[in-house]
């Protein structure tokens, strides 16, 4: 957890948002990047997240963790992004090059590709839990789930990702598109 989890004194928006930005921009960028699969879209999402944070900073409840709060905004931005663009497939996916064996998933892009084949809730829970290293509780807060649901979904997501690594596609079958659950 970052150092902005709790603030003892009221935050002044300019400086505080600047601190928040430089502290959490990378985390949010990764969350956005692996969710939407596009560098430019991810940057736009991060920018929108902090712009919203700027505007709603006065309404920010100090008892809430900054990181959780920002990730909640990011999650909504990602959902809006999918609604707007209706893009289910991500730009980095290489339709003509689908690894068939686990051993081929060595590069980051290939791992991202495997991630992108998951359902969105599977993908998000894995990003938050194992890329951003958030606790089950924080993940549950961000996704507005129960902790039990986080654990269950995490388990299923790992299982499916392993299947992809092994067989090259979820559930052992090659599918052209993932289904977005907004």
């Amino acid at each position: 957890m970052g150092g902005f989890a709790t603030h003892e004194k009221p935050l002044q928006s300019d400086e505080a948002v600047k601190d928040l930005f430089y502290h959490y921009a990378d985390d949010l960028y990764r969350f956005a990047l692996y969710s939407v699969g596009n560098h430019d879209d991810a940057k736009d999402i991060v920018q929108d997240v902090f712009l919203k944070a700027y505007r709603s900073f006065g309404n920010f409840r100090q008892e809430a963790q900054c990181k959780t709060w920002l990730f909640q905004i990011a999650k909504n931005q990602i959902r809006d992004h999918f609604r707007r663009s209706r893009v289910r497939k991500t730009a980095f996916r290489k339709e003509n090059k689908v690894p068939n064996r686990f051993t081929e998933f060595d590069s980051d892009i290939e791992i991202q590709d495997a991630l992108s084949r998951l359902k969105e809730n599977f993908r998000q829970v894995l990003i938050l839990r194992f890329i951003e290293d958030l606790s089950v509780r924080d993940t549950a807060d961000i996704l507005h789930w129960s902790e039990a649901k986080v654990r269950t979904t995490q388990h299923r997501a790992l299982k499916q990702l392993r299947t992809i690594f092994e067989d090259g596609h979820p559930s052992g079958k090659r599918k052209g598109m993932n289904h977005h659950e907004g």
Binding site: Y22, D26, K43, Q47, L51, F105, I111, L126, I131, R162
Partner: protein
């Protein structure tokens, strides 16, 4: 794949992905710029919306103000001066079609709306028919009885439309409620047949009406004493051996200009003497079509007032009862002449008036 830990380990590798320092700086700069520009953009947006709403509101107000003109009931400018003379006494002439006021004479939008409601509410009933065929209708303040009930009072003049002598004029007072229902009706019949009566004033707190008749008589009637007074002689110039065209021309020559000459036309069906809305509409359209820009007023189901000009009706059937009225410079009637013209017999009214035409004086009863 050996186990889940291997998958997690590979996922953890992705956590090393970061934005460059330049990207972060540029991004934060954009965030700050957007944040500080946004309020002014929002203000601009509100300004645009506010300006648009204001324009719409003003347009609606203007349209509402000129709705009468837009729906076709326009007031001849030359009559405005005479209209105002009615408002000083506190009574409001609602319609006045056969005297020198000529026309409707509704001096406020609420009056106009009210009389429309009145006509609409009673058009199928007896009172509606009377109002419909009345020579003039005035709204004369409000009545109030001992029980505290009150409502608008109307005074109308008309010819007898029922049994008996159809040329017998009468004056009827209607006490209405606020729903345009008739609470009480009192009819007064003058002792003389003097043709159409046109109420020109109501004075003494609504007790005395002043009228002009189509036979050239003027007079008063007192509602309290029920006394009638008549005065004046025959003001209608004798047609004699002259044609109406000659009469009009002489009048124009005498007055030096012809903008004081008005035509008042009553149009009724030749079948039963009642109004035919379809014909009225056609008539109105025909006049407007041929005299675009000429002040033309259509008022009531059976009356058409045309100001400033002659016209060429092309009505194929029906009888038009027409009055030609010449005005003096101050708006008083110099003379008027009622005609009974079968429009279908003429190619144009202009021809009829100025050249030839078998025009006939409208019967107004025996000479006094």
């Amino acid at each position: 794949m050996k186990d889940e830990q291997e998958v997690i380990k590979r996922l953890n590798r992705l956590s090393e992905k970061r934005l460059s320092a330049d990207e972060k700086n540029a991004m934060f700069q954009r965030i700050q710029n957007d944040f500080h520009e946004a309020p002014s953009k929002r203000r601009n947006r509100w300004f645009v919306w506010g300006a648009g709403a204001t324009v719409v509101l003003i347009t609606l107000v203007v349209l509402f103000s000129y709705r009468d003109a837009l729906i076709g009931e326009r007031v001849p400018p030359a009559l405005s001066a005479t209209e105002t003379s009615f408002t000083g006494s506190g009574v409001s002439p609602i319609r006045n079609v056969s005297n020198e006021q000529i026309f409707p004479v509704v001096n406020s939008a609420s009056d106009q709306s009210h009389i429309r409601t009145l006509f609409k509410a009673t058009i199928k009933g007896h009172q509606g028919a009377i109002f419909d065929q009345a020579d003039s209708v005035w709204r004369d303040g409000n009545w109030r009885n001992a029980k505290g009930k009150s409502g608008p009072r109307y005074v109308a003049s008309s010819l007898n439309s029922g049994k008996g002598d159809r040329n017998l004029p009468r004056i009827t007072v209607y006490n209405m409620n606020n729903s345009s229902g008739v609470i009480a009706k009192t009819t007064f019949i003058p002792p003389r047949r003097i043709g159409h009566l046109t109420i020109i004033e109501i004075s003494n707190g609504g007790k005395v009406i002043h009228f002009l008749s189509s036979s050239g008589k003027s007079g008063t009637f007192n509602f309290e004493t029920h006394e009638w007074h008549f005065s004046g002689g025959n003001k209608i110039p004798q047609l004699g051996s002259r044609s109406l065209g000659e009469l009009v021309r002489s009048s124009i020559k005498q007055n030096g200009k012809n903008d004081k000459l008005y035509l008042v036309m009553y149009y009724k069906s030749k079948h039963d003497g009642r109004n035919v809305p379809g014909v009225r509409k056609y008539f109105s359209q025909e006049i407007r079509k041929q005299h675009a820009g000429v002040p033309t007023v259509l008022y009531g189901p059976s009356y058409i007032v045309i100001a400033r000009g002659l016209f060429k009706p092309t009505i194929k059937d029906g009888i038009a009862n027409t009055a030609i009225i010449a005005y003096t410079g101050d708006g008083r009637v110099e003379w008027r002449y009622f005609l009974n013209i079968d429009l279908s017999a003429f190619q144009s009214m202009e021809t009829t008036l100025l050249k030839t035409g078998p025009v006939h004086e409208l019967p107004t009863g025996p000479k006094q």
